[in-house]
Symmetry: C2
Subunit: 355 residues, 2 copies
Amino acid sequence: MVAFIGTNDLQEHLATTRPEGAIGELVRMIGEDFRRWPQFDKTARVASHSPIGVIELMPISDGRQYAFKYVNGHPQNTRDGLLTVTAFGVLSDVATGYPRILSELTLTTALRTAATSVLAAQQLARPDSRCMALIGNGAQSEFQAIGFHCLMGIEELRVYDVDPQATDKLVRNLSAYPKLRIYRASSTADAVRGADIVTTVTADKTNALILTPGMIEPGMHINAVGGDCPGKTELHADILHAAKVVVEYEPQSRIEGELQQMPPDFAVTELWQVLNGQATVRTDASQVTVFDSVGFALEDFSAMRYLEKHVLKDSARVLDLIPELMDPKDLYGMGMARSASAPASVPNRSTAAAC
Amino acid sequence: MVAFIGTNDLQEHLATTRPEGAIGELVRMIGEDFRRWPQFDKTARVASHSPIGVIELMPISDGRQYAFKYVNGHPQNTRDGLLTVTAFGVLSDVATGYPRILSELTLTTALRTAATSVLAAQQLARPDSRCMALIGNGAQSEFQAIGFHCLMGIEELRVYDVDPQATDKLVRNLSAYPKLRIYRASSTADAVRGADIVTTVTADKTNALILTPGMIEPGMHINAVGGDCPGKTELHADILHAAKVVVEYEPQSRIEGELQQMPPDFAVTELWQVLNGQATVRTDASQVTVFDSVGFALEDFSAMRYLEKHVLKDSARVLDLIPELMDPKDLYGMGMARSASAPASVPNRSTAAAC
């Protein structure tokens, strides 16, 4: 049987662990996996695009375990009361190919995305960073805010969204964190002014110019989360030209990231190289750094490991998703197990069978 | 909520519909989808190989619905009482990206594979075919036997497997079809002798020579099912040179099918062209035809449509795989719904949080 982790299980888990507890442990586990990067069989995700969205499959394996995530991106969904991004995933044994755990990954993706942003910022942002601009106050924004407040020492948040109600919701939810000072900016430029870290997490599937060169100050770290599929970017190309850019998995980021705007020979560094000390990105306090985050399958592999370790209980629900057979070569016998009573030699009339 | 179809639901369905009823309707629905081939967004499946097996993801979309299948292939699994092939799948709406149905596809894959074999044989085999050799008597064999007996008029089955117990099981299971005469052959050559149709459905992940040129007689149709991943073939290359070969989706078959043994310019016909009358393969009764079947995502798309139409009940089990929100931009609020009681400003001690 396959163990199932649903949104209800995640809600129960977060009620005790708190988002910052989950994000903190995910920073550790995602970092653990990025540091053993060469062990993974990696592929750019497989996308099925439509005019209004995308459905993607993100497989990865370390030779012992295999994980994949199904995730969609449909910015117009919110108009109909639906989420822009939903996701679920599976963790399997490579030795047998059998799936072991099926889990919700919508909430989990928001947690692991914030964790990956923090993991990168710990390496790329100035250690004395205390103020973060948060552009885009939608479904992902609280998780980014809490991650950077609780795990990166961010004390002031400068927030902006074209939809004031989204900002209302963000401010309301963050009232649970009284030590975090929140400034409601009148524009993106107003939010970015004076920030140490700028996080962009907007949703429109367009080549937007959320950040322009005039807004960027020396020493800033830009955590660019919202540019994550072809035709969906947030930064002006000149910002990238003037900065040092770090990505998760270069072949995928060239297709989906802010990087899609840049020439093929534009130099970037992969996050695992920074974590392993093979590359140094921030050389001084005036350096501008960009984490061009699109989300990579390894982060979901780590997230599935987290769910198995911290959320899965012995009392977990199980699904008859895969047959259990007495004789593995007798799939037919298993399939017909219920039909003992039915006279096998008299096919149902509804069939066109001549036997 | 996502509707769930488990192996128990399939067992109940087959008890009333019978395998031949399901295979017959699948022949119709798979044919329906192959005939609208240009409407589908097609990709070769994404495989993650290990020394002892493979895990594959098979996505496809017709612009309105999206389906994917997870399937593994681990021939050594039977030694441990596990299935060589297990599978499950999801059917989603392209407009929202939301998954609608999660289903078992292990039993269903055996049914749709047999249906696809019948669909191809209806076009490629001699109409007067009455005798079929069945080489490989494992998990898939009964479904092939029943499909060809009930829907193609096969009256005599000549069966062989290197494992006599597999053949015992096949013969036992087929006793439910008394009109089908079964001959237990002493070898593959003995089984193939005089057959109108030869179906190979063996499991070893090797470049095997199950069929050699000396066994092939004029007018035979070869339904080659077992050669379905790199390094896994069943036919001697000279059989293909001397025959007309039909495949499902050429780019995938070049990688995974019997075709992997042939030069890149070896001519093949795609099944949809035959179904649409754009290509004629059997020109006379002495023609040798080969259906080099590897299994294509379109067949699983059709199978998911079948499950939704014929198996899914109003009483179906539902899973909280995807969150349901009052405010789609308030994922955080949904995630923390259970924590109202917990004092939000006092993070759990277990967290390293500084907030």
